[in-house]
C-alpha cells in the first residue's frame, strides 16, 4: 500500500462522502418532526443547484442567485407540506412517505419543463486549483462541502437542543397528541421542518453542483445515496448523517481503489447491510424506547 494512493482514495472518499452527508442531513429534520422520510429531499438538492444555474444564466450575480435559489426551494418545501402533506394529516407515516415519492416525481417532471433536460455546472465557489498533499490532490470545493456539512450540523444541533421551537419539534415527533395538549401548534412545527429541510437541500445543491454537476433528475440517486448514509449513521441524528455520509463515500472510494471499480457500490452496500444487521438503528440511532 503506497501512501499517495491511499491519500488520494481518502480524498476522493471525503469529497463524495461530504456530498452524501449534505444530502443525508436534509432527511434528519423532517424525520425528527414527523417520522416521515422525505423522498423529495433529492429534488430540493436539485432545485437549489438548478435554480442557481438558471438565475446565473439570466444574468443574476451568482451569490444573489444562490440566495434566491434557497428562497425558491424553501417556498417549494412549504408548498409541498401545505398542499400534499397537510391535507393527508392523520394518515400513517407510510402513506406520507408515498406522498413524498409522488412529490419527487412531480418536481422532477416540473423541473424538466421549467428548466431543461441538459447537464449544468457552476464555477467552484472557492479557488479552482487542486491542493496537493503528499502526492495526492483535493479540490478546495470539496473542503467547502465538508465545511458546509459541519456548519449545518452545528446549527441544527443548536436549533433542536437550544431553542423552544426545536424542542417543540422533538416533542411533536415523540407524541403528536401530547405535544398538542401542551399547546404546541404541531402543524406549524411540521411545516417548519419541511421549510428548513428544503433550505438544507438547497444549500447542499448549491455547494455540490461545482463537483457533481446537476440536471433535472440528479435528485433521485443523490437521495438514494443520502438515504443510505442517513440509515447507516442512524436516521434522525445530524452527527450520524455526516458520519454515515463520509463513511459511505470512503467505502466506495476504497472499494473502487483497492477492490474493483465494478463492484464499489456493491461493496459499500454490503457493509451497510452488515452494520444495520448488527445495529438496526444505525451508528448514532436513538434507542427505540426514547422514540415511543
Amino acid at each position: 500500500m503506497k501512501v499517495p494512493e491511499f491519500l488520494q482514495f481518502a480524498f476522493s472518499g471525503l469529497t463524495v462522502g461530504a456530498v452524501y452527508a449534505l444530502v443525508a442531513l436534509g432527511f434528519t429534520l423532517i424525520y425528527n418532526a414527523s417520522d416521515v422520510i422525505n423522498f423529495a429531499q433529492g429534488e430540493f438538492v436539485m432545485l437549489g443547484g438548478m435554480t442557481t444555474v438558471f438565475l446565473g444564466l439570466a444574468g443574476v450575480p451568482l451569490p444573489l442567485a444562490a440566495c434566491l435559489a434557497i428562497v425558491v426551494t424553501v417556498a417549494v418545501g412549504l408548498a409541498l407540506h401545505r398542499f400534499a402533506i397537510e391535507p393527508a394529516r392523520g394518515a400513517s407515516a407510510v402513506v406520507l412517505i408515498i406522498i413524498t415519492i409522488g412529490a419527487s416525481i412531480f418536481l422532477r417532471g416540473a423541473a424538466q419543463l421549467v428548466f431543461d433536460k441538459r447537464f449544468h455546472s457552476l464555477p467552484p465557489w472557492v479557488g479552482g486549483d487542486a491542493i496537493r498533499v503528499g502526492g495526492a490532490a483535493i479540490l478546495p470545493q470539496s473542503l467547502m462541502v465538508l465545511g458546509g456539512a459541519v456548519v449545518i450540523v452545528v446549527l441544527l444541533w443548536a436549533f433542536i437542543d437550544r431553542t423552544l421551537v426545536g424542542k417543540a419539534m422533538v416533542a411533536t415527533a415523540a407524541n403528536e397528541l401530547a405535544a398538542r395538549l401542551v399547546g404546541i401548534d404541531t402543524r406549524r412545527v411540521v411545516g417548519l421542518s419541511f421549510g428548513i429541510s428544503a433550505a438544507i437541500g438547497a444549500v447542499a445543491g448549491i455547494l455540490i453542483t461545482p463537483i457533481t454537476l446537476t440536471s433535472y433528475d440528479v435528485g433521485t440517486l443523490l437521495a438514494l445515496k443520502g438515504f443510505a448514509a442517513a440509515m447507516l449513521g442512524g436516521i434522525g441524528s445530524a452527527v450520524g448523517a455526516v458520519v454515515g455520509g463520509l463513511l459511505l463515500g470512503l467505502l466506495e472510494a476504497f472499494a473502487a481503489g483497492y477492490v474493483s471499480s465494478q463492484y464499489k457500490d456493491a461493496v459499500a452496500f454490503l457493509v451497510i447491510l452488515i452494520v444495520l444487521l448488527a445495529m438496526p438503528r444505525g451508528l448514532f440511532g436513538r434507542a427505540s424506547a426514547e422514540r415511543v
Binding site: 494512493e5 456530498v19 447537464f119 487542486a130 490532490a137 454537476l213 472510494a253 473502487a256 457500490d265
Partner: protein, 380 residues
C-alpha cells in the same frame, strides 16, 4: 342498434371516407422516443422529420404524391414501440418506417416490419440492428465500433499502442467498451488496464489513480455518455495525468466543453462532421449538406443542431431518393433501391449500402477533433 350507435357509425364512416378522399398522400411511419429518458434523441428527430416532410411537400412531394408523416411517441418503452409498429403496419398501412430512437425499441419493432415486408430505417446506434443483415432493416447512425476504430487509428498515427479504458456502466459506455475490446487486437492496440464508473458517480479519482500507477499505459480512452466523461476529464487534470485523453462521440457536444471547462483542453474525440459543419474545409463533400441542415434546423427550432436530428434527416432522404429511383412506393422496389444507395451524402457521412452492409458508412464519417481553448479544432 340504438340511435347513438348509428350516429357514431355514421360519423366514423364519414370520417373514414373523408380521410380516404384527402389522402392522395403516402404515409410514412415514425415511432420515436419523443418523451422519456431518450427524449434528447427523439425530440430533434421528430422536429427534423416534420421540417423536411413539409419541405418536400412544398416542393411537390415525391413521385407526384405528398408525404404524410404518421408519428407515435413510444416514451423509450420497447413494448409501446412494438404496439405502435403493429398499428403503423395494420391500420396506417405505411409504405416505410423511419424511426426507432433507441436500440431497444428498434429491436422490438424489427419482427413487425420484417413480417409486413416494409422498409425500416432505424435511427438507433447499436450494431446488432444491422448485424446480421436483415432484408428490410437499415440504419443511419454510425456505430460504436467505428468510433473505437477511429480512435485506434489516431493512436497508431501518434505511435501509441498501449491504452487504459475507463468506461461508464450505462448502456452506451458498456456497449462501446465491448466494441473497443473486440476490435483492439485487430488494430494492434493493447488494453492494459480497465476501470469503470457508475453513470451518476461524482468522483472518479480512485479509478484514475489506479490507471496513473499502471506502468506502460500511453493513453486513456473514456467510453461514456452524459456528465460522467466531464467529471473524468476534470479529475484527470486534478490528478495531473499528462497522457493523451480520448473521449467518445457520446459527448460530442458543446455541453461537454462547458461542463469540463478548461480541463477539456487537449482532449481528443471522434465526431460526426455535422458538429463542425462551418469548420469543414470548402472542398469537403459533406460541407454543403451539413451546413444547410444546421441552418435549417436552427432557424426553424431555435435550438442548436445535434447529430441525432441529422440521423433522421439522412433516413428520410435515403428513403425519398430510393422512392424516386423506384418510381413508385411499392415496398419491395423501394427496399431494393435503398439497398442500392450509392454516394449518398448525408449529415452522418457518405453512404454506400450493399446487400451485406445496411449502414454503408466508413471511417471517414467520423472526424477526429481536439478541444483547444474551449472550442473544437479539426485534426486532419
Amino acid at each position: 342498434m340504438p340511435a347513438y350507435a348509428k350516429t357514431a357509425a355514421a360519423i366514423a364512416l364519414w370520417l373514414a371516407s373523408g380521410v380516404g378522399q384527402g389522402s392522395a398522400q403516402v404515409k410514412v411511419g415514425a415511432v420515436l422516443s419523443i418523451t422519456g429518458p431518450a427524449s434528447f434523441l427523439g425530440d430533434p428527430e421528430k422536429k427534423t422529420l416534420e421540417i423536411y416532410v413539409d419541405d418536400i411537400n412544398a416542393k411537390g412531394g415525391v413521385n407526384g404524391q405528398k408525404l404524410q408523416l404518421v408519428g407515435y411517441d413510444d416514451g423509450a418503452d420497447a413494448n409501446a414501440a412494438r404496439t405502435f409498429a403493429t398499428r403503423l403496419v395494420e391500420e396506417d398501412k405505411v409504405v416505410a418506417m423511419i424511426g426507432g430512437t433507441t436500440t431497444g425499441a428498434t429491436l422490438a419493432m424489427i419482427p413487425v416490419f420484417e413480417e409486413a415486408q416494409t422498409p425500416f430505417i432505424s435511427l438507433a446506434g447499436a450494431i446488432q440492428i444491422i448485424e446480421p443483415v436483415r432484408k428490410w432493416v437499415f440504419k443511419t447512425p454510425h456505430t460504436d465500433k467505428m468510433a473505437c476504430e477511429k480512435i485506434f487509428a489516431d493512436l497508431k498515427q501518434r505511435n501509441l499502442t498501449t491504452v487504459a479504458l475507463i468506461s461508464g456502466t450505462d448502456a452506451f459506455g458498456k456497449s462501446m467498451r465491448d466494441q473497443c475490446v473486440a476490435v483492439a487486437p485487430k488494430a494492434g492496440i493493447t488494453i492494459a488496464h480497465e476501470e469503470s464508473y457508475g453513470p451518476r458517480d461524482s468522483d472518479m479519482t480512485p479509478q484514475l489513480t489506479n490507471i496513473k500507477r499502471q506502468a506502460g499505459v500511453q493513453a486513456v480512452i473514456n467510453p461514456g455518455f452524459g456528465q460522467g466523461p466531464a467529471i473524468v476529464t476534470r479529475n484527470y487534470r486534478q490528478l495531473g495525468i499528462t497522457l493523451p485523453l480520448y473521449q467518445s462521440h457520446g459527448v460530442a457536444s458543446k455541453q461537454f466543453i462547458d461542463l469540463a471547462g478548461p480541463a477539456a483542453d487537449g482532449v481528443r474525440l471522434p465526431a460526426a462532421a455535422l458538429l463542425v459543419a462551418e469548420k469543414l474545409p470548402d472542398g469537403d463533400p459533406q460541407k454543403p449538406v451539413a451546413v444547410a441542415y444546421t441552418r435549417a434546423y436552427q432557424q426553424k427550432t431555435g435550438q442548436p443542431v445535434s447529430t441525432f436530428g441529422g440521423h433522421a434527416y439522412d433516413g428520410l432522404m435515403i428513403f425519398t431518393e430510393a422512392a424516386k429511383r423506384a418510381g413508385s412506393f411499392d415496398r419491395a422496389k423501394v427496399r431494393d433501391e435503398i439497398e442500392k444507395t450509392r454516394n449518398f451524402i448525408g449529415t452522418g457521412g457518405v453512404v454506400n449500402m450493399s446487400p451485406t452492409d445496411h449502414l454503408g458508412l466508413d471511417l471517414s464519417a467520423f472526424r477526429m477533433l481536439e478541444i483547444k481553448g474551449g472550442d473544437w479544432t479539426l485534426l486532419q
